[in-house]
Symmetry: C2
Subunit: 219 residues, 2 copies
Amino acid sequence: MNKITVTGFRWAPPFAQGLVRDLRVRWALEEAGLPYEVRLIDIADRNSDSYRQQQPFGMVPAFEADGMGLFESGAILHHIAVDSEALMPADRRDRASTVTWMFAALNTVEPPVQNLSVMDLQQSEEQWAKLRRPGAVDAVKVRLGALSAWLNGRDYLVDRFTAADILMTTVLRLIRHTDLVAEFPVLDAYVKRCEARPAFQKALRDQMAEYARNTPAAA
Amino acid sequence: MNKITVTGFRWAPPFAQGLVRDLRVRWALEEAGLPYEVRLIDIADRNSDSYRQQQPFGMVPAFEADGMGLFESGAILHHIAVDSEALMPADRRDRASTVTWMFAALNTVEPPVQNLSVMDLQQSEEQWAKLRRPGAVDAVKVRLGALSAWLNGRDYLVDRFTAADILMTTVLRLIRHTDLVAEFPVLDAYVKRCEARPAFQKALRDQMAEYARNTPAAA
């Protein structure tokens, strides 16, 4: 791949910093050793006609490489990973497992985790959120319990670090404001193991540096 | 692929019939022209140790082919589609778009749609659900509006029918109990176009026939 461009937000409010999903793509590119450029947009830009042509839902990340545009962090990671053994093993059984866990992170674990995250970070003053929170926590714990059982005795979701671990770690980070992951020592160690990777540290540092540089005067 | 086995539930309560996710896999296999066997489990079986080895979250579908096990409907469809031009075009740009829309269906459209579906079908008597429903409907409409804008003038998500349309159609079916899809004529026509396919009709008929055959005496 050449001429890689990742689209992210110019700035994000503090509660969201470190959680915005272009972090997943930056991390994957660092693991794969692929240089990239960043295109930063204002949150308001996401509703422009031109951006919607690139990302129909007006979200980030969007991605361009080899003159081709993609969106959805899962799809972008898949696109990067199929050509990078750092992110997806060559063995066909392990490849299938990697894809399985990529979808599991995004379609089974993320929905309840994201629900709780949005509820706590953006809707906590609403009456329904106060009533719902215990049930939303229970829904998260069901998934974390199953994930913890799987990871017990394993360092990574598949035999070695893959793109699926990038997705799962960034999903679990969405509830970093709670103690829920810490309640499962296996998961706590797993997230710390993945976050300790130099590629993660570099991706996060780069994303945060841009937010710092672009902090609005009023924030 | 040979010796394909799809795991689904022996029976599902009427509100869930036609929505259980092994339908996605059956539909994909019918489109690809691949024969398969079905392994039916009781809902209670999903918590057994042996099933959790196969599907760590205790959900359906699970899938076996060529002596390899997978789970997650998205991953299973991807696995079938990469070897079937009926589900994924050969052109590399179209392949990337297909994968993009597969993730978009499951990670951007499904979460709010599934939230509303569960709220209406299983939690509607709870006070928080009554308070939350208008906001949950709005969240669905945001996604449906963006999807409708994309599909306006298109028959399918990519240039032609792909695995992404199977996922998106079955996601939109999760709110068949509402008029929300009908409020977007482009989406209404899209779902009807996809549901009219013989492969969908056959997959649904086969799934429903097994539920009918296995209806508990008390139901």
